[in-house]
Amino acid sequence: MAAPPIAPATRFAITLPLVLLVALALVPLLAHYLPGERYLIGLFARVMIFAIAAISLDLILGYGGLVSFGHAAFLGLGAYAVGILAEHGIADAVVVLPAALAVAALFALATGAIAMRTRGVYFIMITLAFGQMAYYTATSLSQYGGDDGMRLAARSVVLGHSLLADPRGFYYFVFAALVVVYLFCRMIVASRFGRVLRAARENPVRTETLGYNVHAFRLTAYVISGCICAIAGFLLANQNSFVSPAYMSWQRSGELIVMVILGGMGSLHGAVLGSLVYLLLEELLSGFTEHWKVIFGPLLVLVVLFARGGLIGLFGGGRRG
């Protein structure tokens, strides 16, 4: 079966991401003149948080060829790091964020080492299994909310300052995180490491016989991806002031995959576009009818059938090279 198409023409590699990021930067300013300012800022902050998660998934899925159906676990790990530490009186991002990253890295290392001994659908299934394990573990943590989750008293502070309490402050914090994550991932993809990862996606045997330990490269990418997704989890917990096992459901993992593919995988900014379109469509359609999924479902099917390479494929009008 043919490898799926990767994101297209390089001429969009600067324009589209720039447009997206500038547009996102302007949202709070524009929202100031619109009704429902707080709502809009919150909505787009949510979009950016999922964009970060989607970018992390695109790194291993679009560039590494690893379809992880348990990626939401990292969202949950980041979120629970916030929640659990808050329960014990620790709420400074300077401590919480590294803790979240450490937990995510350990989880990725342990589960990745096992999962990567499999390929294809088995990899999908075993990452799903690990995601489910994380989910059920969270539901069993009764002192941290169990099934129902728990509320956070306040958002994390940054070096003692309540930067995140104000909606705009929070928005730009998330925006900064998105920009950093995006640039970081772009660098990785263009680096020596990225080259090997991309080669291994298309032809693992060839890459192995050139002298590359493909397993080690993929595992490293997996750990990096997990850590980035945990950042999104940290932000999500802060945005909702709430932590729950639902963050790690397999449906949520599925949604992340949808966002990446919808936008166009293997481009990074496709992941941003995908989360934007997915979440905005969700908001828009649910405004019309509570049964918006009846429209959204077939829309997805149509995108798959006729818009290969996702939305970026539609705009770009061609594949790379």
């Binding site: 990767i6 660098m187 990785i188 263009a190 680096s191 020596r192 490491f193 990225g194 080259r195 090997v196 991309r198 080669a199 298309e202 032809n203 045997v205 060839r206 890459t207 192995e208 016989t209 050139l210 002298g211 590359y212 330990n213 493909v214 490269f217 490293t220 790379r320 090279g321």
Partner: protein
């Protein structure tokens, strides 16, 4: 006599009930061209897979420059200096031709766990890649996606990739397969120019190439070595004629 660079000692491999490699032993001296010939299904490609580490053997030993590599993983064998081309062209189709070769150069030159510097800007890597492309005559295709090359050009790219690794031992799996007359002659000349600089282990059906290049020939039938020797000895060997050469004798 120089220390052999590759020693296979009584290799044995079963796939289910089928014995694909049946007590195969051979030795290759450095700088020589050694050809393995035999009818289809003789297990020649499997043997290359065993040497490069893609298929584990059930019994026997493989020694490379006096190191036992029987249990060494494929990527480490590549690092030790064994490079190979594949019978069915194995390249990275979406990468430009040159990047395919650069990937190989990168493997040779230092760590690939570098995340921050854009790899495309590294002159050192690109120069070595350009070199290898020139040797096989593909410089004019450097920027094109490798997937768009003609079949013969892809075979040459395979060779360039293998050369870029500057290996001690080069395993070539039917490099002539599917090439037309002109491309074939070209390829034989390219390979001839490599003699002495590398050690070549060649699996081939094309007898022109075999007799033009080989210093020694091993004949494999149903996984067993039925004859080994110089090209003249093999040509004269009646068993080989029966089993394989038939009217193909050059």
């Amino acid at each position: 006599m120089a220390e052999p660079i590759l020693q296979l000692e009584s290799l044995r491999k079963n796939f289910g009930g089928l014995r694909v490699t049946d007590g195969v032993s051979l030795e290759i001296e450095p700088g020589r061209v050694h050809a393995i010939i035999g009818p289809n299904g003789a297990g020649k490609t499997t043997l290359l897979n065993e040497i490069s580490g893609l298929v584990p053997v059930d019994a026997g030993h493989i020694r490379f420059a006096a190191t036992d590599i029987t249990r060494t993983p494929a990527h480490r064998r590549a690092r030790l200096g064994i490079a190979r081309s594949f019978q069915i062209t194995s390249i990275i189709p979406s990468f430009p031709v040159q990047e395919n070769v650069t990937l190989a150069v990168q493997a040779r030159m230092g760590s690939s766990f570098r995340f921050l510097w854009p790899a495309a800007r590294e002159r050192r890597l690109e120069e070595a890649a350009e070199d290898a492309l020139e040797q096989v005559g593909l410089s004019h295709r450097a920027r094109q996606p490798a997937g768009t090359l003609s079949h013969g050009e892809k075979r040459s790219l395979e060779l360039a990739i293998a050369l870029a690794l500057q290996p001690k031992l080069l395993l070539l799996d039917e490099p002539m397969a599917g090439t037309g007359r002109g491309e074939g002659e070209q390829l034989i000349e390219t390979l001839r120019a490599l003699k002495g600089r590398f050690t070549l282990l060649l699996v081939e059906h094309d007898m022109r190439a075999v007799f033009a290049l080989a210093d020694r020939i091993t004949v494999l039938v149903y996984g067993r070595v039925i004859a080994a020797g110089t090209p003249e000895e093999i040509r004269a060997n009646p068993e080989v004629r029966n089993a394989y050469l038939g009217e193909e004798a050059a």
